[in-house]
C-alpha cells in the first residue's frame, strides 16, 4: 500500500519536474514573469510530492532512503530543487531554474531506470552517523550543483560582455555580481556541510571497519573533490579570486562531485558499493 502510494508520488514528481522544465524553457525564450511564477509553482509542487515519497520510503525502510543509486539520485534531485527554491527566494535568480528543473527531471529518470528494490534494514545503516554523513553530503552536493549552474551562466554572460557582443539571452541573465554571489554563498554553506559529512563518514568508518581511511575509491575521489573546493574557498577568501576563475573552479568541483557520486558507484567497487549492488 505504502509502496504503491510512493511510486505514484515519484512518477507524479518526475512528470511535474518535466512540466516545470518546459515552463522554464518558455520563460527563457519569452521572458514573462507569469510564466516564471507558474514554473516555480510547479517545481515547488513537484518538490512536495517528491519529499513525501522520500519520507514514505525512508519510513518503510527504517533508514534514510539513499542506499541504492536509484534512491540516491532521487534524493539528490529533491535536494537540488529545494536548494534552488530557497536561493530563488533569497537572491532572485530566476534563470537558474532553467538549469535546475531539467537536471532534476533527468535525475528522476535516471533514478527510475536503475533498479530500486529496497535494502532490508541492517544495523549498519541505522546509525545516526550514516544519517548525518549522507544528508550533509547530499546537501553540499545540491548546493554545488547550483553553484556550477551559476558558474556556467557567469561564463556565458562574462564572455558576452568581454566580446562586446551581447547575445540574445543578455536581457534574461542576472548581473555578473549576483551570479558570483550565488557561487560564493553556495560555497560558504556547501563546504562546511561537505566537511562535516566527510568527518562523519570517517568517524563511522573507524567504528565499523576499525580504520577511518580504507582506500575506498569513493573516499579518494571525495577527498579530491573536497580539496578542489577547499582551494576555491581559500582563494576566494584570502586572495580575492572571483568571477571567471571561481566559476571555472566551481564547474570543475561539480564534475568531481559527479564522478564521486555516479562514476564511482557505477564502475568501481568499494565500501559504498556494498549497499548499492545488493
Amino acid at each position: 500500500m505504502g509502496q504503491g502510494m510512493e511510486h505514484v508520488l515519484l512518477i507524479l514528481a518526475a512528470c511535474v519536474y518535466c512540466i516545470g522544465s518546459v515552463g522554464y524553457f518558455v520563460f527563457l525564450v519569452r521572458n514573462e514573469e507569469n510564466v516564471h511564477r507558474a514554473a516555480l509553482g510547479i517545481l515547488v509542487a513537484g518538490a512536495v510530492f517528491h519529499g513525501t515519497a522520500i519520507v514514505l520510503r525512508s519510513a518503510a525502510a527504517g533508514h534514510l532512503a539513499v542506499t541504492t543509486l536509484s534512491e540516491a539520485l532521487s534524493f539528490f534531485a529533491w535536494l537540488m530543487v529545494v536548494a534552488y527554491v530557497l536561493i530563488q527566494n533569497r537572491l532572485r535568480l530566476r534563470v537558474l531554474g532553467s538549469f535546475v528543473a531539467p537536471l532534476a527531471a533527468a535525475f528522476m529518470f535516471g533514478s527510475a531506470i536503475l533498479p530500486s528494490h529496497m535494502i532490508p534494514a541492517t544495523p549498519l545503516l541505522k546509525s545516526t552517523w550514516v544519517w548525518i554523513h549522507v544528508s550533509t553530503l547530499f546537501g553540499a552536493n545540491a548546493l554545488f550543483a547550483v553553484a556550477c549552474a551559476a558558474g556556467i551562466l557567469y561564463l556565458y554572460q562574462e564572455r558576452a560582455i568581454k566580446r562586446k557582443r551581447l547575445g540574445p539571452l543578455y536581457g534574461r541573465l542576472p548581473s555578473l555580481e549576483r551570479l558570483d554571489r550565488v557561487n560564493h554563498v553556495c560555497l560558504l554553506i556547501g563546504f562546511p556541510l561537505m566537511t562535516v559529512g566527510l568527518l562523519a563518514g570517517f568517524l563511522y568508518a573507524s567504528t565499523v571497519w576499525k580504520s577511518p581511511w580504507n582506500w575506498d575509491p569513493k573516499e579518494i575521489f571525495a577527498l579530491i573533490t573536497w580539496l578542489i573546493y577547499a582551494v576555491l574557498l581559500h582563494e576566494r577568501l584570502a586572495v580575492g579570486w572571483r568571477g571567471r576563475r571561481a566559476a571555472w573552479l566551481a564547474i570543475l568541483g561539480f564534475s568531481a562531485v559527479l564522478i564521486t557520486f555516479l562514476g564511482v558507484n557505477l564502475f568501481l567497487k568499494g565500501h559504498h558499493t556494498l549497499f548499492v549492488t545488493q
Binding site: 560582455i161 568581454k162 541573465l173 555578473l176 580575492g240 571567471r244 576563475r245
Partner: protein, 434 residues
C-alpha cells in the same frame, strides 16, 4: 456620436512651432477650462508634452467640433490660424483611437518606445477627471489606452533596450554590478556626455561619486553638482582602488591609464570588477585594459554599436506592437458600436417601467385591504414579467449593434414600441451599457 482627435506632433510641426508647443507645455491655465465655450464638444481630453499637443473629444457635430477645437488650439499656441492649420492632423473614430493607442505605447514618440509618455497621459487624464470633462466614452477609451500601453510593454521588448549612449552605459553597468546603489562612480574629466551619463547613474541611485579633473575649479564645480568628493589628477590611479565605475572624458592626447598601471591595483582591489566607460576622443584608457580579468572597458564606438543594434531591435518590436494596437482598436470599435443601441434600450426599459408603475398604482388603489407582503408580491410579479418580456428584444438589439444593419433595427424597434412619441431620453453619461 463621433470621436475626434486633433493635434500636432514632432513629425508634423517644424521646430519653431514645437518651441511654442513647449511653452504651452509649461502653461498654468488648463485649456479644459474652455470647454463650456465649445458648444459642439461633449467630452474633452487634452494632452500636451514638449513634442505634441493633442485634443481628444466626442461630438455629434463633427465639423463644428473640429472648428471650435482648432480655434482653441490657435488661441493656445498664439500663432496665426493658417500657420497652425498647415501642421495639424485630424483623426476620426477608429483612426483617433488607433492614434491614441500608438501615442501611449510610445510608437509615435521621437525615441520609439520611450516610457515617459504613458505617465504624461495618465497625468492629463487625472486633470480631465478633475475638470469633469470626460464621460462614458473617453473614460472607457483612456482606461483601454492604459491597458493597451501596458500590454505593448509586457508583450514586446519595445522598451527593453537602451537607445542612448549614456543609457547603454548604465545598462551595462547594471549587467556587471546588479544593484548600483552601493557602487562608487568616478568622473575623470568633464565632457558633456560624461556629465549626462553621471546624471543617469544618479538616477539609478548612485550616491557615492568622485570627481577627478586637471583644473581644480572645474572639479570643485562638478563636485558640488554631484555631491562628490574631488581627487587631484595626480592621484587618479590610486583612487581607482575603491571605485567601481569610471567615466573618462578628458582631452588628453595620450592614454591616462595603461594595463601595466592597472594590473597591480586589481590585485589590491581583490579583483572586484571595474568598469571603464571611455567616451573621450582620442581614447583615455589603453584598450589592453579590457584584457585584464574582471575589468571591462567600453569606448564610445562600442556603446554606439549597442545603441544601433537596440534601435533596429526596437523597430522590429514596433511592428509587433502595431499588431496589438490594431486588434485592440477593433475591439474598442465593437464596444463603441454597441453605444448606438444603448439609448433605444434605455427608452424601451423606461417606457415599460412607467407603464408598470402607472398600472400598479391603479390596481393597488382599488385593493385597499392588501398587506405589505401582498403589495410587494404584486410588485415583484409585474417587474419580472416586464423583465422577461423585454429580455429577448434587448439581447437582439445588442447582437445587431455590431452589424451594419443596426440602424434599421433601431428605427424599427422605436416604431414598434412607439418610443419616439415621448421625449426621447437624453443619453445619460453614467450609463455604460444599458
Amino acid at each position: 456620436m463621433d470621436i475626434y482627435l486633433v493635434g500636432m506632433n514632432h513629425k508634423t510641426a517644424p521646430v519653431d512651432i514645437r518651441e511654442r508647443i513647449a511653452q504651452v507645455c509649461r502653461m498654468d491655465a488648463n485649456p479644459l477650462e474652455q470647454r463650456p465655450h465649445c458648444k459642439a464638444v461633449e467630452e474633452l481630453f487634452f494632452l500636451s508634452t514638449c513634442n505634441r499637443v493633442e485634443f481628444l473629444f466626442t461630438t455629434r457635430n463633427g465639423s463644428d467640433g473640429v472648428e471650435e477645437i482648432t480655434d482653441l488650439m490657435v488661441r493656445l499656441i498664439g500663432l496665426p490660424k493658417e500657420m497652425v492649420l498647415k501642421h495639424f492632423y485630424v483623426h476620426k473614430n477608429l483612426e483617433a483611437v488607433r492614434h491614441l493607442f500608438r501615442v501611449a505605447s510610445g510608437l509615435d514618440s521621437m525615441v520609439v518606445g520611450e516610457p515617459q509618455i504613458l505617465g504624461q497621459i495618465k497625468d492629463a487624464y487625472r486633470e480631465a477627471t478633475q475638470y469633469r470633462t470626460v464621460g462614458v466614452v473617453l473614460n472607457r477609451l483612456l482606461h483601454k489606452t492604459f491597458s493597451v500601453a501596458k500590454r505593448v510593454r509586457t508583450e514586446t521588448n519595445i522598451g527593453c533596450h537602451a537607445v542612448s549612449v549614456s543609457y547603454a552605459a548604465v545598462e551595462l553597468a547594471k549587467k556587471i554590478f546588479g544593484d548600483l546603489r552601493d557602487k562608487r562612480v568616478m568622473l575623470v574629466g568633464a565632457g558633456e556626455m560624461a556629465e549626462l551619463a553621471a546624471e543617469h547613474f544618479r538616477g539609478q541611485g548612485v550616491r557615492d561619486m568622485v570627481v577627478v579633473n586637471r583644473t581644480l575649479e572645474r572639479a570643485v564645480e562638478l563636485g558640488r553638482r554631484f555631491h562628490a568628493q574631488t581627487v587631484p589628477f595626480a592621484h587618479f590611479p590610486d583612487a581607482l582602488l575603491d571605485v567601481d565605475i569610471v567615466l573618462c572624458s578628458t582631452a588628453a592626447a595620450q592614454p591616462i591609464l595603461t594595463a601595466a598601471d592597472l594590473k597591480p591595483r586589481m590585485r589590491k582591489r581583490k579583483n572586484r570588477p571595474l568598469f571603464f566607460i571611455d567616451i573621450a576622443m582620442p581614447r583615455n584608457v589603453d584598450p589592453k585594459v579590457h584584457e585584464i580579468d574582471n575589468v571591462y572597458l567600453y569606448d564610445i564606438d562600442d556603446l554606439k554599436g549597442i545603441v544601433d543594434l537596440n534601435l533596429s531591435e526596437r523597430r522590429h518590436e514596433a511592428e509587433k506592437a502595431q499588431f496589438i494596437i490594431d486588434t485592440e482598436t477593433l475591439q474598442f470599435q465593437q464596444w463603441l458600436q454597441t453605444l448606438d443601441v444603448v439609448p433605444t434600450i434605455i427608452a424601451l426599459r423606461r417606457k415599460a417601467e412607467s407603464i408598470r408603475q402607472a398600472e400598479l398604482r391603479k390596481t393597488l388603489s382599488q385593493l385597499p385591504g392588501l398587506g405589505d407582503k401582498e403589495k410587494e408580491a404584486i410588485g415583484v410579479l409585474t417587474e419580472s414579467m416586464i423583465k422577461k418580456l423585454l429580455h429577448d428584444p434587448i439581447v437582439f438589439l445588442k447582437k445587431k449593434s455590431v452589424r451594419e444593419s443596426k440602424k434599421l433595427y433601431v428605427s424599427f424597434t422605436r416604431q414598434l414600441f412607439n418610443l419616439d412619441q415621448e421625449d426621447a431620453p437624453a443619453r445619460s453619461l453614467d450609463c455604460t451599457d444599458g
